[in-house]
């Protein structure tokens, strides 16, 4: 038995430490023998591991064309020197972990990225840093991939001179989790992406949208934070979207939206927080969406819903301290329902004490209709005259849409 002790000790150490390079690992380090990642990929067998030691590597675009796992140790920096894409993955089952991608440089001709995955499956991109990369992570025609724990920091100054943080095009079943994206054009950009899960990401101070997607059916967005983006979040032309537990915060500016929904249908928006946005939710041609248990606080407009949006349901939401609760562009019949929400502007009473107000609440102020028709009149906001006008309209509604009312407003704030 004692004869095997040293060997088993070694095996245990191997299991515990895990890190030390195995015999078949290819180690890249500035001291050699393998000095470039490209050379290491050439040497590594399919399914092998490549360990990149601390150092700065400057080499032509690295093409990963076989299934390998690339792991960075310490500060393993791949520098694009401001003139090229850093890594292109074209093989299936590639894992890239713990690397630092730096300095891709702006291009007006091609969509250069720190890391581009082109036509591949089962890729894993984890815990990398992207600094000043034009596009950060770019997935095109991919499936079953995982993008998690990456930190992307862009330094673009204008929309035209910067790329998107995490850019997905024509992909399926992708997990995008716990990434942090700052200073890009769009934080997360999806086009033709299906059946994907986006969770726990932080997307802030981007130059355009925190999240932007089009034609991306059946995706789930959970517990993300979209904060302080120049134009907030805009999503378009998509069915079966599920957004829950997200925070849309402080998207403030004359063209900023907490969440802009254009041509979104059959979707759910639940348990989200909308705080300090110019417009909390802007819905245009959005149909059959269920807004439930959301919290709208201190927005300019909590909800702006255009008359071409049909059959949406707003229920059990909180509306607190918004300048306007609900605005719309038409005083004709409305096809969306508001029921059992909490409105801090509600002045009704609850005589039978069942928790619901006895008179309906009309969230559309007369003034918001006036403003919608004639923008400069917003300058009369908080004028005494306007308050009197609103009060009169509330007593005898004639201009505000009669059907847009909450028949059973909740008396107490919904937790």
């Amino acid at each position: 038995m004692t004869r095997f002790a040293p060997i088993s000790c070694f095996l245990v150490a191997l299991l515990v430490l895990g890190r030390p390079a195995l015999a078949q690992d290819v180690v890249v380090s500035p001291e050699g023998p393998v000095k470039s990642l490209s050379a290491a990929i050439e040497q590594a067998p399919p399914g092998g591991r490549i360990v990149v030691r601390e150092g700065v590597y400057r080499e032509p675009t690295v093409v990963v064309d076989k299934p390998v796992t690339i792991t960075g140790e310490g500060q393993a920096v791949l520098d694009g020197q401001g003139e090229r894409q850093i890594m292109t993955v074209t093989a299936d089952s590639v894992t890239v972990r713990g690397l630092i991608f730096r300095n891709v440089g702006v291009s007006f001709v091609e969509d250069r990225a720190g890391l581009k995955v082109d036509d591949a499956r089962q890729c894993v991109i984890e815990d990398n840093r992207f600094e000043d990369t034009f596009f950060g992570i770019y997935l095109a025609k991919t499936a079953h991939c995982r993008v998690a724990g990456n930190v992307l920091q862009g330094t673009g100054a204008t929309e035209t001179q910067s790329g998107n943080g995490i850019h997905l095009w024509y992909s399926k079943d992708i997990e995008v989790e716990n990434n942090t994206i700052r200073g890009h054009r769009d934080g997360i950009y999806f086009e033709f992406v299906e059946d994907s899960r986006i969770a726990g990401n932080l997307s802030e101070v981007n130059l355009r949208y925190g999240l932007h997607f089009m034609f991306s059916d059946r995706c789930q967005y959970r517990d993300n934070v979209f904060r302080n983006n120049d134009a907030g979040v805009a999503v378009m032309y998509t069915k079966h979207v599920e957004m829950s537990g997200n925070r849309f915060e402080h998207n403030w500016g004359s063209a900023a939206f907490g969440l802009l929904l254009k041509d979104i249908t059959d979707s759910r928006v639940e348990d989200n927080l909308f705080v300090k946005n110019t417009i909390g939710v802007y819905a245009e041609a959005a149909n059959r969406i269920r807004f439930e248990r959301n919290h709208f606080q201190e927005n300019g407009w909590a909800v702006k819903i255009m008359a071409n949006s049909l059959d949406n349901v707003f229920t059990r939401n909180n509306f607190i301290a918004n300048t306007f609760d609900v605005a719309t562009n038409s005083s004709r019949k409305h096809r969306s329902r508001f029921e059992q929400n909490y409105w801090d502007n509600y002045e009704g009473y609850d005589l039978d004490r069942d928790g619901y107000g006895d008179v309906p609440f009309r969230p559309v102020r007369l003034f918001s209709i006036i403003v919608e028709k004639n923008e400069p009149s917003l300058l009369l906001l908080r004028s005494f005259f306007i308050d009197v006008l609103d009060a009169a309209e509330r007593v005898v509604p004639s201009i505000t849409p009669e059907t847009l009312a909450d028949e059973k407003p909740v008396m107490k704030r919904i937790l």
């Binding site: 403030w252 004359s254 300058l379 906001l381 908080r382 005259f385």
Partner: protein, 263 residues
């Protein structure tokens, strides 16, 4: 100069003795403190207080000012038998009223903020704007009050005109602006709106407050135009000048009438 100081001194002691001014300060103190207690933070308190300032200060200033000058008639007649020139007397009367009213407001509204503090640096700007516009509105509407009291012999008539004037500036003017906006909806109205707002001191103060509240983001293009105007040197100069004219013009006119008035 010494005479003016004496008139002001007398006025001050008189105003304070009448306890009006104490009540006035106390009113603002209680309201502001209540807003802090019930409204939560300084942001909400500032917002509610600004609504109050824009309505209450002009009303109290114009009513109290008119009444005060009517009641001080005997005193004015007595002083005019003495070697006191009318300019000194008028200046003394005005300062003696505008000063305690402003001080009452500043103390009442300012103390709770000094005690509780403000949450963010931007709130400090808003608070300064609020206090400043409160003081300016006091000066403007006290001046208007003096003009009314000097113009109309009849006390009841004078008070009626004072109320009407307040109603016009605080409420009706905005109605007219809205009508104008609707009538000329097809035209770009941003520049005319600036002019219209400059013409009404209450609107002027309201817009300045709106802009410090960061509401300009709600206004899209209109907000951008306004922010650009009031952010520029020209804008600041013009708005200050407008408010200055609003103090000086009625005061000057009132003094001219006062100088020739046959008591």
């Amino acid at each position: 100069m010494q005479t003016t100081a004496k008139v002001i001194k007398y006025e001050l002691s008189d105003v304070i003795r009448s306890k009006w001014i104490v009540l006035y300060a106390l009113f603002f103190l209680v309201v502001t403190e209540a807003l802090f207690q019930f409204g939560g933070g300084s942001a909400r308190a500032l917002l509610s207080l600004s609504n109050l300032v824009l309505i209450i200060i002009p009303l109290i200033s114009i009513l109290f000012g008119t009444m005060y000058l009517y009641n001080a008639r005997a005193f004015v007649e007595l002083l005019l038998t003495q070697p006191v020139d009318r300019k000194t007397l008028f200046g003394g009367l005005y300062t003696g009223l505008a000063l305690p009213l402003s001080a009452g407001f500043l103390a009442g509204a300012g103390l709770p903020f000094a005690f509780h503090g403000v949450e963010a640096a931007s709130h400090a700007t808003t608070l300064m704007t609020l206090l400043l516009s409160g003081v300016l509105l006091t000066c403007i509407f006290t001046a208007l009050a003096f003009l009314i009291a000097v113009t109309f012999e009849d006390k009841v008539r004078g008070l009626g005109v004072a109320i009407l004037l307040w109603l016009f500036f605080a409420v009706l003017y905005d109605g007219l602006v809205l009508l104008l906006l609707n009538a000329f909806a097809a035209y770009p109205l941003e520049q005319p709106m600036i002019a219209l707002m400059l013409l009404n001191p209450i609107d002027m103060a309201r817009v300045l407050l709106l802009l410090t509240f960061d509401v300009s983001a709600l206004m899209g293009y209109t907000g951008a135009v306004f922010e650009q105007f009031f952010g520029s040197l020209l804008g600041v100069g013009l708005s200050t000048a407008a408010l200055g004219v609003w103090v000086a013009a009625p005061l000057f006119w009132g003094w001219r009438l006062f100088r020739k008035k046959d008591f």
